[in-house]
C-alpha cells in the first residue's frame, strides 16, 4: 500500500484552530451525529455485501441432515464437511490443482510478456507505439465471452485441446489479462526517473542490469498488483474453461462446481465448502491490491 491518500485520517480531527468553547461544543456535536449516521449506513451496506458469502460459509458447514431445513442457521455446525470434501469421489482436489496450474501459468506468462512491453513503451517513443497501445486497449475491452466460439474453434482446429486444455487456458487467460498488466507496469515504470537507470549505467551496469537492479525493484508494487490481479482473474475465469475442457479430470474448480448443478442430488454443502476454500484467499489477495486496481482497469482509457 505504497501510494495512498491520507484517507485513513481520524474523523475527529478538526481543521479550525480553537474557536470559542461554546461554539466549538455545538459544532462538534453536530458533525459527530452526522458521522455516526454515515458510518452506520456504510456499515449496513458493508454487511449486505458480505452476507451472501456468509451464507456460503454457513451452508458449507451445514450437516447433511439439516441441508434442506428452512432456517438461517443449522442446529449444529458440521465442520467435518470441510475436511471430508477432499475425497477423490468429489474431484475437488484435482480441480484445485488444475486451477492452480492455469492461474499460475497465466500469471507467469503475463509477467514475461507484459514487462518488456510495458518497459519499452514507457521509456521509448517509436513508430507503431500508439498502434500497439491501441491494440492493447482493444484487447482489454474484448472479453473471452465475445470470442469464445472463435477461440474454441481455433484450439480445436490446431489440436491443442487434445493435448492438455491447461495450455490453451493459460494462453487465453494470459492474453485477456495482458492489458491490465501493461497499463499498471507502464504507469509505475514511467514514474521512476530515467536518471536512476542512467546513473547505474554510468557506474558500469548494462541496460538489462539497470532494469533488473534499479527499475524493477522500484516498480515492485506495480508488478505485485499485476501478478495478483492476473492470478485472481484466471482463478475465477469460467466461460473459456467451460468451453475448452471436456473430460472431468481436466476441469478447473469453476467448471467442476458447475458440473454438479442439475444433477439429481447436489451436495450443496461440499459445493460451497469448495467455494469457501476458493474464495477466502482471493478476498485477502484482492484486499492487498484494492487501492491500485482501478488505476490498471481505467488507465488505458483515461490517459
Amino acid at each position: 500500500m505504497a501510494v495512498r491518500t491520507p484517507a485513513s485520517r481520524k474523523p475527529g480531527t478538526r481543521k479550525q484552530a480553537a474557536p470559542p468553547p461554546a461554539a466549538a461544543r455545538a459544532e462538534r456535536r453536530l458533525p459527530s451525529l452526522r458521522t455516526a449516521i454515515i458510518a452506520a449506513a456504510a456499515y449496513i451496506v458493508a454487511v449486505i455485501f458480505v452476507l451472501p458469502y456468509l451464507e456460503m460459509l454457513i451452508t458449507a458447514v451445514r450437516p447433511q441432515r439439516e441441508l434442506y431445513e428452512p432456517n438461517y442457521l443449522p442446529h449444529h455446525f458440521a465442520w467435518s464437511n470441510l475436511t471430508n470434501m477432499w475425497g477423490a469421489a468429489f474431484g475437488i482436489t484435482s480441480a484445485v490443482r488444475v486451477s492452480l496450474e492455469i492461474a499460475g501459468g497465466a500469471t507467469l506468462l503475463v509477467l514475461l510478456v507484459a514487462l518488456p512491453a510495458a518497459y519499452y513503451t514507457s521509456r521509448h517513443r517509436f513508430r507503431g507505439r500508439g498502434a500497439f497501445l491501441l491494440l492493447v486497449l482493444a484487447t482489454q475491452m474484448l472479453q473471452p465471452t465475445a470470442l469464445i466460439v472463435g477461440i474454441y474453434k481455433e484450439f480445436l482446429d490446431f489440436g491443442l485441446l487434445n493435448l492438455n486444455p491447461v495450455w490453451s487456458l493459460i494462453l487465453v487467460n494470459a492474453g485477456f489479462n495482458l492489458a491490465f498488466a501493461v497499463w499498471i507496469l507502464n504507469a509505475y515504470i514511467g514514474s521512476i526517473p530515467v536518471e536512476l537507470e542512467q546513473a547505474a549505467m554510468v557506474d558500469g551496469s548494462t541496460r538489462l542490469g539497470a532494469l533488473f537492479r534499479v527499475t524493477l525493484p522500484l516498480a515492485m508494487p506495480g508488478v505485485v498488483t499485476a501478478l495478483i490481479f492476473t492470478f485472481i482473474a484466471a482463478w475465477n475465469e469460467f466461460i473459456s474453461a467451460l468451453a475448452l475442457t471436456t473430460s472431468t479430470s481436466d476441469y478447473p474448480l469453476t467448471v467442476r462446481l458447475d458440473s454438479f448443478i442439475g444433477q439429481y442430488t447436489v451436495d450443496w454443502q461440499h459445493l460451497f465448502g469448495a467455494s469457501v476454500v476458493a474464495t477466502i484467499p482471493v478476498f485477502i489477495l484482492f484486499a492487498l491490491i484494492e487501492g491500485r486496481v482501478v488505476g490498471g482497469l481505467t488507465a488505458g482509457s483515461v490517459k
Binding site: A117, L134, Y188, N236, A243, V293, V302
Partner: protein
C-alpha cells in the same frame, strides 16, 4: 484518476519524453543503413511477445469466427463445405431470436442504469470520513473479488423454493405463504428469474463502479463544493452543479466498461437458470453459447452479430477516451 494515474507521466503529444537517451551513446559508427534497419526492429524484440500473444488469443479467433460463420459444420464437427449466408439466415429465422434480443436490451439497460445510480450514492457515502472506513471499503469489494460463477451459485441456493433463506425471510414477513410453492420458486418462473438475475448482475457490478467513481471523486477538489455551499447553494444543488460535472470522465469510463461487461455476462444466467426454460431467460450471449453445442456455424454467425455490437461499444469508448483527453488538456 486515482493515486496511480496521478503519478503517471501522462504523455501529451508536445512534451518529448527523456526516454531515448537511455540508449548508451557509445556504439561506434557502423554502416548507417543496416544499423537503422536493426534499430527499427528493436521495438519488436520488446513488444513482439505481447503482439504474438494477442494474435493467438484475440486476432486469430476473430478470423476463425468469421470463417466458421460461412461454413457448414455438422453437429459432430465435420465441415461439409461452404454454407454461404445460410448460418446467418438460420439464426435470424430462429423464432426465439426476437425475445432474446428484447431481453438482451433489457438486461444491459436495466443492469447498467441501476448499477450507475446506486454506485453514485455508494461512492458519495464511502467518500465521507468515518471510523472504520477502510474495513467498510474492503467489505464491498467481496463480490468483485469472488468468482461471479460462485456468487451466482449462492443466489441460486438462497432462492431454492423449499429452504432458501430469501424464502425463509419472506415467509417471516408473510410475503411467501408456503415453502415449495410456485410462488417460492423464484427461478422457476422466467419473469421473476430474470428480475433476480438482473439484481445479481447489479450486485457484482457495484464494487468496480463504486471504486471508479470514488477515484473520480478524489480528484474533485472539496473546496469547490464548500465554496458553493458557502454561497448559499443547497447540498443537492452543489452536488448536481459542481460534483457531477467534474465526475463525468470517471462516470463515462465506468459506464462503457459496464456496458461491455454486462453485455458479455454469462455465468449469472448460466448458473441460475441455464437460460431456460427454453430460451426464456437467455440473452444473445447465452444463446450463442448454447448454439455452439450443436451448430457451430450458427453460433459463429451469432457471435459475429454480438461482436459487431461489441466493436461499436469499443469505438464509442475509444472516441470517449479521446474526448476525455481533450477535456483534460
Amino acid at each position: 484518476m486515482s493515486d496511480i494515474t496521478a503519478a503517471e507521466p501522462g504523455p501529451p503529444a508536445g512534451v518529448p519524453k527523456p526516454g531515448p537517451s537511455v540508449r548508451p551513446p557509445a556504439r561506434g559508427p557502423a554502416q548507417p543503413s543496416r544499423r537503422r534497419r536493426l534499430a527499427a526492429l528493436e521495438p519488436l524484440l520488446w513488444i513482439g511477445p505481447a503482439i504474438a500473444l494477442i494474435a493467438v488469443v484475440v486476432l486469430w479467433p476473430i478470423v476463425t469466427m468469421i470463417q466458421t460463420s460461412f461454413q457448414n459444420i455438422t453437429p459432430l464437427g465435420i465441415t461439409i463445405g461452404s454454407a454461404g449466408l445460410s448460418n446467418f439466415s438460420q439464426v435470424f429465422k430462429n423464432p426465439n431470436l426476437p425475445g432474446i434480443l428484447i431481453r438482451t436490451v433489457i438486461w444491459v439497460a436495466a443492469t447498467v442504469a441501476i448499477t450507475m445510480v446506486i454506485s453514485l450514492g455508494l461512492a458519495q457515502l464511502y467518500n465521507q470520513r468515518f471510523p472504520g472506513r477502510r474495513f467498510a471499503r474492503w467489505a464491498i469489494i467481496a463480490p468483485w473479488a469472488a468468482s461471479v460463477m460462485m456468487t451466482a451459485l449462492i443466489f441460486r441456493w438462497v432462492l431454492q423454493p423449499e429452504n432458501g433463506v430469501v424464502n425463509v425471510f419472506l415467509h417471516q414477513l408473510g410475503l411467501v405463504q408456503r415453502f415449495n410453492s410456485n410462488q417460492a420458486d423464484w427461478l422457476g418462473r422466467p419473469d421473476s428469474a430474470f428480475v433476480w438475475m438482473i439484481g445479481v448482475a447489479v450486485f457484482v457490478s457495484l464494487p468496480f463502479t463504486t471504486y471508479v467513481l470514488l477515484a473520480g471523486l478524489q480528484s474533485v477538489p472539496g473546496e469547490l463544493f464548500e465554496a458553493a455551499r458557502v454561497d448559499g447553494a443547497s447540498s443537492w444543488h452543489a452536488y448536481r452543479r459542481i460534483t457531477l460535472p467534474l465526475l463525468r470522465p470517471a462516470f463515462l469510463v465506468a459506464l462503457v466498461i459496464n456496458l461491455m461487461n454486462v453485455f458479455n455476462s454469462f455465468p449469472i444466467l448460466w448458473e441460475m437458470t441455464r437460460g431456460g426454460p427454453g430460451y426464456e431467460t437467455s440473452t444473445t450471449t447465452v444463446f450463442m453459447y448454447d448454439l455452439k453445442g450443436t451448430f457451430v456455424g450458427q453460433a459463429a454467425a451469432m457471435s459475429i452479430v454480438n461482436f459487431t455490437l461489441v466493436v461499436v461499444i469499443v469505438l464509442v469508448f475509444l472516441r470517449l477516451n479521446r474526448w476525455n483527453r481533450q477535456e483534460a488538456a
